[in-house]
Symmetry: C2
Subunit: 429 residues, 2 copies
């Protein structure tokens, strides 16, 4: 007999035999009846046991035990979906499960964050918790769909690198067959040189940040959605690509994770055809910050998010033209006024979600900027030398997956949407 | 003016103005003419410069310089695709490129492997080299398409872990905020516990092996395509899933990378509806190995590959039922004879490509097997404890991306198909 998924039970013909597989989500033993709610990856289904449905002396398996239920689909307006399973044979597919550390059958998970994280392997089973990752998985699908359709090539760059990629500080050191190696903080340099091969590339993979941050929005390891494209005129073409990508992610969430959106009550962002865009200089004025601030503080980003919603009805706002000196050395300056750069951030509901820029593409510019910043040339030599081989004008951006989902569900802490977070204090489970 | 891709030039109307962007692939200066072959991500196009097409005193940019060419599409039966660009304006988009370390315009790359790898950022530009990664990218698309359509959820598990996942040996140690951590050798434990959440999961990501191998088929870091599915009857259901995945990868290569297949002359494997399958015991006999061999040697795998081709016309053969003692501790024994396991390997053209198995799913079985093998319980405690929470019978497999592509193109060394390989001796570029 084919398996019926819980979410499809409502379409079964009453009287039809059905076979469910899943977990005992809830067991309620009344005087004359036992109600069993079975949970599978698609939803919940109600099973009714009457005396005699279990062999003499047999107990109904406890919550979280994997079971198979074979019985009869029976109409019952009170059951979820209007159909329940009666006259069942319930078979445990493993030993009876231990009592979970939190009651997964309750409508909401009321556990504290440390409990949630310590028992992540179990707490992710809660339908509301699982829904958060369903948003992540759908978003990844949307990200790739847009780029696949637009001539991008998926790449995978090494995570073990010879020298620190971004700034030299805050990298994890690895014992690599007796010599030091480092965990890549980003695929930045690889994606840039791969523009020389494929023109347009993307990568979804882990990045590692040994920054001793202890905040609600930083992780020591996260999933980065990296994009880089060649033959661009300026950073505005990169922003246009980002707009398509974000729109595709939202569309994929709406289409592929509609049940998760509903369960969580997610308010999906509207992605306008043109993202509201402010120059950094104007953004500072708007939030009342001094003209010589080198960067936006979290409070500024929040204020800009409120402004975008109030003025443009948009959850998204682009800030472009950050001071060159406060961005990564490979950012392309604005040729009209090199004090400012052709860089941008995308702020989503008041939090920086994406950083991007047009990059330098001339060898001489790299040599000059490293000298100006007082960086050692040696660790960057192989990277910088690759720009002598002919790299066209290009740019790109990186989206943090967990931040994206965090803002989608408006989580207070990024750890709530991370499967198994890593931070200053946490390396398990 | 819209950009015309090189591969589309053949469809341009003669006389029509066109705009190309790409690299100078080849510059041939004759007495009266200069031929410029432009390369972009789609192919090559011929541009003809006559005296006067360049400003007085201007030189044609050297090979590998990124350029934009605006000119007129002109029929010429001798040009690739039958159309070339005449009366062009050629604009360099960066400084003139240095002479590449190998001549990329030659039909084949004759460089030695060390040269190829030392200059990977450049040598991947060669159309034949790039084609290899195009096979990889298409394969990833096929892998995900099959699983997305079959109810699997994409997951991303942490690469920084508290204890060695597989066997304790041969892991890279990381300095994690002053305490030791390790790089995950596989997402094995995470994908198993996530079966408890999503039932069916897959992950594409890097795995790290500190084995001091120095062979043509091992890397210290590679891309692993991991799959795990719950509610299976035995490992045969896992093999059936693997068959669908491989068929989907082949179909995606045929469809999305047809030009790469053609350039490389790749012979795509036929994936039979039922993969030829041998029990390990019979495989040993077939290759003339002693009955008590614990595993198949590379020579045995080659012989089995030849057998599958001769007997079944198949590039693929499954060996199942490896001795329990020679497989990972979490492999499920055959209940009828626990000497043998419900494990399998998929051999592709004589090389092990995939390992998989039904796994243990009962807590007591884990406790027992760890004791039998004399493993410390402590490093596995959090993993093993998770099986007290109700995990259904499940199994899975892992495909090495680089091995897959290596066998597709019948490369002598896996490094030839790896973007930036990492091994005992190599940590750059």
């Amino acid at each position: 007999m084919r398996r019926t998924h819980c979410s499809d039970l409502s379409t079964a013909t009453p009287g039809e035999p059905v076979r469910l597989q899943g977990w005992v989500h809830r067991r309620r033993e009344l005087a004359a009846l036992t109600f069993l709610v079975v949970r599978d990856r698609t939803g919940l289904a109600q099973v009714v046991l009457r005396p005699g449905d279990l062999p003499d002396g047999a107990a109904c398996p406890p919550e979280e035990t994997p079971v198979e239920v074979v019985g009869t689909a029976t109409a019952n307006p009170q059951a979820p979906g209007g159909v329940e399973v009666t006259s069942p044979t319930v078979t445990a597919l493993s030993e009876p499960a231990d009592t979970p550390p939190v009651e997964l059958w309750r409508p909401t998970l009321s556990a504290s964050l440390p409990t949630l994280l310590d028992h992540a392997a179990t707490t992710w089973r809660h339908p509301l918790q699982r829904a958060k990752w369903e948003l992540a998985a759908a978003s990844l699908h949307g990200f790739r769909s847009v780029l696949d359709a637009d001539g991008f090539t998926e790449v995978h760059s090494p995570k073990l690198v010879e020298s620190a990629t971004e700034s030299g500080a805050n990298v994890f050191e690895v014992d690599y067959f007796g010599r030091p190696a480092y965990l890549a903080q980003s695929p930045q340099f690889y994606k840039q040189v791969l523009v020389g091969v494929f023109e347009r590339v993307y990568e979804v993979g882990p990045v590692f940040r040994a920054e001793p941050h202890d905040t609600v929005r930083h992780l020591a390891e996260y999933v980065s959605l990296d994009v880089e494209l060649g033959f661009v005129r300026d950073h505005r073409e990169v922003v246009a690509c980002l707009r398509e990508v974000v729109a595709g992610m939202v569309a994929a969430v709406a289409e592929r994770a509609s049940s998760a959106v509903e369960r969580l009550g997610v308010r999906l962002p509207v992605v306008p055809d043109e993202l509201p865009t402010l120059h950094f200089r104007d953004a500072l004025r708007l939030v009342g910050a001094p003209d010589d601030e080198p960067d936006l503080a979290p409070a500024h980003e929040r204020a800009l998010g409120e402004w975008a919603m109030a003025e443009h009805g948009s959850d998204l706002v682009v800030v472009e033209g950050y001071p060159t000196a406060s961005r990564a050395f490979y950012s392309h300056p604005d040729p009209d006024d090199p004090h400012w750069s052709r860089s941008f951030d995308l702020i989503f509901r008041g939090v920086e979600l994406v950083s991007g820029a047009q990059r330098l593409h001339r060898y001489e510019d790299y040599v000059r900027v490293l000298a100006e910043r007082g960086y050692d040339y040696a660790p960057f030599a192989s990277y910088v030398e690759s720009f002598r081989r002919g790299i066209p004008p290009h740019g790109g951006f990186a989206i943090g997956l967990e931040r994206w989902v965090g803002r989608l569900v408006e989580a207070a802490n990024i750890r709530e949407v991370t499967l198994f977070p890593r931070d200053l204090h946490r390396l398990a489970p």
